[in-house]
């Protein structure tokens, strides 16, 4: 049995029971981060802050929201927006953060791709990150159902229909997911449950896994340099702070994180107060009407690229392409055959591949929103094919890459 002595201070008392000093060292002051990084490395912290904003604003929305098909729309637009003090603020924060969190996720993802941060023992970071992307997508979609406006209803109809899996005609599966023949009360209540309980739990668990996956391989750096963390940290602790290649997570790196967070929040609150309609679509301020499809149905901007991969093909091929787009990113650590874990700029053909992929996804995003007519259909089809070709070409491009 552990031996306890009379505590000399509150800190000592806690130390004996919770080893707080040790925990603080492991988590912060002796958690070593390379110095050779840029502000893109702060996106993790930006995401954590945005998630916190979503959680807090969500708690306050939850207190007045009513998950009932007859009440949901009014509980949001009347009760929360008109009656609850600062209810409008929570809603704007929640809606804008839900959209902006995806922007930061995409920046975070493309940073990882650019610097090769999914290789050499960092595969689990990548996989857990992609799982987070999937759960965040599900969280975003389920949340989008809750105001029960026209876009909620029709997005719910279109997306759940995907589960009939085209030519397989699995209508039973669609009805099972909905709990009804069409999105109705059962559908709204279960998506409410998913949004406020099951998916947030999964997200929090996955965030833990994502952080844990980072400990052993350590954070990557701007040049893909392999750093001897033991030697460099000794140097730091011996007092050569300037000469060491690493720094403490707190306060060294944390202070920079907070600086980036500060700048991010200026941008974020500008959107919350002055430019929120991109995240709170006007069409969703019309109550759900099952007999009237809106003139244009489009998902939120962050789903547009994968939606556009589904759209230009006949239904079965579209679904296969869509499925391909959903899983292919997870396989990146194995599709990239090169052992080089350095920035794309030093990897020749891979660099071209990276920028083409980025531009192709932006084109897909734009075409996913534009009406599928004329030239837009053609561009969309070409971009969707280009996406597939790019991923198929990746192993061949990287196989012959010279060792740096």
């Amino acid at each position: 049995m552990a031996h306890f002595t009379k505590a000399t201070s509150v800190k000592d008392w806690l130390n004996q029971r919770l080893a707080v000093e040790k925990v603080e060292k492991v988590m912060a002051s002796e958690y070593w981060i390379p110095k050779n990084i840029n502000f893109l490395w702060a996106m993790g912290m930006v995401l954590a802050i945005t998630f916190a904003l979503l959680l807090v604003s969500g708690i306050f929305l939850l207190m007045y929201y009513q998950p009932h098909v007859d009440l949901a729309f009014d509980s949001v637009n009347y009760t929360i927006m008109r009656e609850v003090d600062f209810g409008w603020l929570w809603r704007n924060i929640h809606g804008v953060a839900a959209s902006v969190v995806f922007l930061v996720i995409y920046i975070h993802m493309f940073t990882g791709i650019y610097y090769g941060s999914y290789k050499k023992g960092r595969e689990m970071i990548w996989i857990s990150g992609m799982l987070l992307f999937v759960t965040f997508s599900a969280e975003a979609f389920s949340g989008y159902m809750l105001p029960w406006g026209q876009m909620s209803y029709w997005a719910g109809m279109v997306i759940t229909n995907i589960f009939s899996l085209g030519g397989l005609h699995m209508d039973g599966l669609v009805e099972w997911i909905r709990g009804d023949y069409v999105p109705a009360q059962a559908f709204l209540s279960r998506f409410f449950m998913l949004h406020v309980l099951l998916l947030p739990l999964a997200i929090m668990g996955l965030i833990g896994l994502h952080f844990a996956a980072l400990r052993i391989p350590h954070v990557n750096n701007q040049d893909g340099e392999e750093i001897d963390f033991d030697a460099e940290s000794k140097k730091y602790l011996a007092g050569d702070k300037a000469g060491s290649k690493v720094m403490r997570f707190a306060n060294d790196f944390m202070s920079k994180d907070m600086m980036v967070v500060g700048i991010f929040l200026i941008f974020f609150f500008y959107l919350v107060f002055y430019n929120y309609s991109f995240a709170l679509d006007p069409v969703n301020f019309d109550p759900a009407d099952m007999l009237k499809t809106p003139a244009h149905i489009y998902p939120e901007w962050y789903f547009l690229w994968s939606y556009e991969i589904l759209r230009p093909f006949s239904v079965n091929i579209g679904l296969i392409a869509f499925g391909f787009a959903q899983v292919i990113f997870v396989l990146l650590p194995w599709l990239d055959r090169s052992p080089n874990a350095v920035p794309a700029s030093r990897r020749g053909a891979f660099s071209v591949w990276f920028w083409l992929l980025l531009i192709d996804m932006i084109v897909l995003t734009a075409m996913g929103k534009l009406p599928p007519e004329g030239i837009f259909s053609t561009i969309g089809l070409v971009a969707a094919l280009a996406f597939i070709v790019l991923w198929i070409a990746l192993p061949f491009i990287t196989m012959n890459e010279k060792k740096v």
Binding site: K35, N36, N38, F39, L40, D74, N77, Y78, M81, R82, W88, L89, N92, L103, I107, Q222, K241, A242, M247, N251, D252, S255, K256, M258, M259, V261, G262, I263, L265, I266, F269, Y270, V272, F273, Y274, F278, L280, P282, V283, N284, F285, D286, P287, A295, H296, W301, L304, L358, I362, T365, A366, K369, L370, P371
Partner: protein, 315 residues
């Protein structure tokens, strides 16, 4: 080593803005037809050439003009012939009270409406006299004198009894120009007026049934029930609302909604009333927004200063 951060920031911001521009301003400009405002000039209607005589106008309105057969003028002590539900059963929609018509509607529009309702309202596709589809409002064919003078007199009379432009509130503008077809639940407004608070549930239900009966007649008349406008300030933008009110046909060809012929001032007030229903916290948002922006700027400056002091030792 050279600091690459400014370049990286430029790349990130450029791609973000490009994506934003493509999916928001550009995509919406492609998806939605742009209708230019005509500033409520109603250029297709002839101007009133005669100077109206109020006294004569009153006589015509109450007598030979036949207006009070269907319309009430409560201000002048002329009651409605029927209650709203019965009136809607007879005409499809309850004919408006004319007390404030002179300030709510454009004078040219009123003059044209009196002479040719379907033309002024732009619903000739629905009411074609040649096919025997008569508009429920009977046209005025003159009381024996110069018809233009008579119409000018009636318009002058309506203007003389109405409140001034300054006295017309957004709520009055909405109730006069829109409220007989469009519900506004968030402001407790039904097509037959504001719903009172009843002591007994059966009275409340009886009122609801009246509303339903009215809506049934209205649905038959319009093809579908005109939508509740509680959240229209959010689901449509101001430019859309303004140009739609000015000329519904320009946006939605063949729609059953008539051109209501309001003045620019009335349209502005109607939209303000919609904002009072669907965006009640707009002033609070602006003031809180300003304070938060100042605070967050200070937050960022302190974060920067802290970072600088911590990193001084690292280089």
């Amino acid at each position: 080593m050279k600091n690459k951060e400014p370049l990286i920031l430029v790349v990130v911001v450029a791609f973000t803005l490009l994506t934003y521009w493509l999916v928001e301003p550009y995509a919406h400009s492609v998806m939605h037809k742009h209708v230019e405002s005509e500033n409520f000039a109603y250029a297709d209607l002839a101007p009133i050439s005669k100077t109206g005589n109020v006294a004569n106008g009153k006589e015509l309105t109450m007598g030979a003009g036949g207006c009070t057969g269907c319309h009430s003028i409560t201000k002048e002590g002329v009651p409605a012939g029927m209650d709203p539900v019965t009136a809607a059963g007879a005409y499809g929609v309850n004919p408006p009270d004319l007390s404030e018509a002179g300030v709510v509607y454009d004078a040219k529009f009123l003059a044209d409406l009196i002479k040719n309702p379907a033309h002024a309202l732009k619903v000739e596709h629905k009411f074609d006299a040649a096919k025997g589809q008569m508009h429920p409002m009977v046209a005025f064919y003159g009381a024996g004198g110069d018809i233009d003078q008579e119409v000018a007199d009636m318009v002058a009379y309506l203007q003389s009894i109405a409140v001034t432009k300054e006295q017309l509130t957004p709520k009055m503008a909405y109730e006069n120009a829109c409220g007989r077809c469009h519900e506004m639940r968030y402001e407790n407004w039904t097509q037959i007026g504001e719903k009172p608070s009843f002591k007994f549930e059966k009275d409340s239900l009886a009122f609801d049934i009246q509303v339903l009966e009215y809506q049934e007649s209205l649905t038959k008349y319009m093809g579908k029930l005109p939508p509740d406008l509680s959240m229209y300030i959010r689901s449509r933008n101001e430019h859309f609302l303004s140009t739609f009110i000015e000329n519904p046909q320009a946006h939605l060809e063949g729609t059953a909604m008539p051109r209501v012929g309001v003045t620019a001032d009335t349209a502005h007030k109607v939209i303000e009333h919609m904002a009072d229903s669907g965006d009640t916290k707009r002033d609070e948002r602006a003031s809180v927004g300003m304070n938060v922006m100042w605070y967050i700027l200070i937050f960022a400056i302190f974060a920067f200063l802290w970072k600088r002091s911590v990193w001084k030792e690292l280089h």
